[in-house]
């Protein structure tokens, strides 16, 4: 028999991963398009910012977000006073943190996919009278499908395994911010290894299946991983 707490934690983990992935896909497509094709000189600054969550300790990001969400001052104070919204130690707070932490896992595959397409695809569509939007949705996006699937799977898998930033911003409130990776830590602290085993096995299998999916859609010479050794 599965206990309610176990199911609630897994459902919360799934909800966080699904929402993070959807939000990042919506944000990631225009950002990746801009990064792939802009000649703007500050592009490298934005590329570095997008990649920061890959090199920065999650606790550092979590710490800064916790400061930003402080309802006593600054951005957190503004949200509290004008919208009666508090983000620290709430699901909305860990959702924002997960979106920021997942930026490179969605944007990098999309950007690399777009940059890997011949420039002539875009130019051909333009000379055929098609707008940039029509070209993006009818020509570019369908031809980077493996990159889109990779971005979705990597973001989902990374969010499932997120620990430091969620713990910093959300703590470990059952049903609100306690996701599976944090639950494992809590269960081990209370010597409840049986429960930790169950969480761990589910996360292990889920991550493994997602990676198998990514590698099977990226078989062949021109795929995301062979072009991006630094991420693989």
């Amino acid at each position: 028999m599965m206990d309610t707490d176990f199911i609630t934690t897994l459902a919360l983990t799934g909800k966080l991963a699904v929402l993070t992935t959807i939000i990042l896909l919506v944000i990631g497509l225009p950002v990746a398009y801009w990064l792939a094709y802009t000649h703007c000189r500050v592009k490298v600054v934005f590329e570095a910012l997008v990649c920061m969550p890959m090199v920065l300790p999650p606790t550092v990001m979590g710490y800064y977000l916790l400061l930003a969400f402080n309802p006593q001052k600054g951005f957190g104070g503004f949200l509290d006073r004008f919208f009666d919204v508090r983000l620290a130690f709430t699901f909305e707070g860990i959702l924002i943190a997960s979106v920021l932490a997942g930026l490179p896992f969605m944007i990098q595959p999309l950007q690399n996919g777009l940059q890997g397409l011949p420039v002539s695809y875009r130019e051909a569509a333009y000379t055929l009278g098609k707008s940039k939007t029509k070209t993006f949705f009818s020509v570019l996006l369908p031809n980077i499908r493996p990159s889109v699937i990779t971005g979705i799977a990597l973001t989902f898998a990374h969010t499932i395994g997120e620990f430091g930033i969620v713990l910093m911003v959300g703590g470990s409130i059952p049903g609100e911010t306690r996701i599976a990776s944090i639950a494992i830590y809590d269960e081990v602290q209370t010597l409840n290894y049986r429960q930790a085993d169950r969480y761990s096995l589910i996360l292990f299998l889920l991550s493994f299946v997602l990676l198998v999916i990514i590698y099977s859609i990226n078989r062949g010479p021109n795929n995301y991983f062979t072009n991006n050794k630094h991420l693989g």
């Binding site: 011949p118 002539s120 695809y121 130019e123 051909a124 569509a125 333009y126 000379t127 055929l128 009278g129 098609k130 707008s131 009818s138 020509v139 369908p142 031809n143």
Partner: protein, 221 residues
């Protein structure tokens, strides 16, 4: 009539080079742009299509100014009504042969034209194939059909026969002449094959030695 009076500084392997062209290209002509490598043949086509901006000058297509540095006119490629066939053909891999050709059309879908193009270019058996299943010659025919399906005022062909063997080259030359005459196109084509130019073109636009002024009759070859 296509009127060109443009100047562009290009960075080549031999350093900075100036491309200056001032010509009038008659309607319904098939003009070959001829010149050594790095002379700016492709750049000239790309400037006409709106894919590269000249440094200064004017370009008008059938009396419509599409670029005028003095009047700050620079129409985007979408509004120039120019068909462009790229060296790599640029067929969209996610679309079948038929969808590639249909995609070229605007809101006024001319199904009859699409069917005519599929028939004339011998693509009937291939209409449901994706581009990665096609040979070089077949891709070239699809790219040509797609460029014409958009009903352009001017057709630009960038070394259309560079990627095919000799036998295929002769057959495809016929396709280009057929497309040019059948659809009363004004065609501008890059080539550095003298025999090809002699066989296909009505006019010649040599570039590479200083400023090019005026066209030459192709018969000079």
């Amino acid at each position: 009539m296509i009127e060109l009076d443009i100047r562009k500084q290009m960075l080549t392997a031999d350093g900075l080079r100036s491309l200056e062209v001032s010509v009038e290209i008659p309607r319904h002509s098939l003009t070959c742009i001829w010149g050594p490598s790095g002379s700016g043949k492709t750049t000239l086509l790309r400037m006409i299509a709106g894919l590269v901006k000249p440094d200064k000058g004017t370009i008008s297509i059938n009396s419509i100014p599409v670029y005028d540095s003095g009047k700050k006119i620079n129409l985007v490629p979408q509004r120039r009504h120019v068909g462009y066939m790229f060296q790599d053909y640029a067929l969209f891999p996610n679309m079948t042969v038929e969808k590639n050709i249909r995609f070229a059309q605007g809101r006024d879908k001319d199904k009859e034209l699409v069917e005519t193009l599929i028939r004339e270019f011998g693509l009937d058996n291939l209409r449901r194939q994706k581009p990665d299943k096609l040979s070089g010659g077949q891709k070239q025919r699809v790219a040509l059909a797609r460029a014409i399906a958009a009903k352009p005022h001017l057709l630009l062909l960038d070394e259309p026969l560079s990627a095919v063997d000799e036998e295929m080259r002769l057959s495809l030359q016929d396709e280009i002449v057929k497309a040019h005459t059948l659809f009363s196109m004004t065609t501008l084509m890059v080539s550095h094959d003298r025999a090809e130019i002699a066989r296909l073109s009505t006019h010649l636009l040599p570039i590479g030695q200083g400023k090019t002024v005026g066209l030459e009759k192709a018969s000079f070859l």
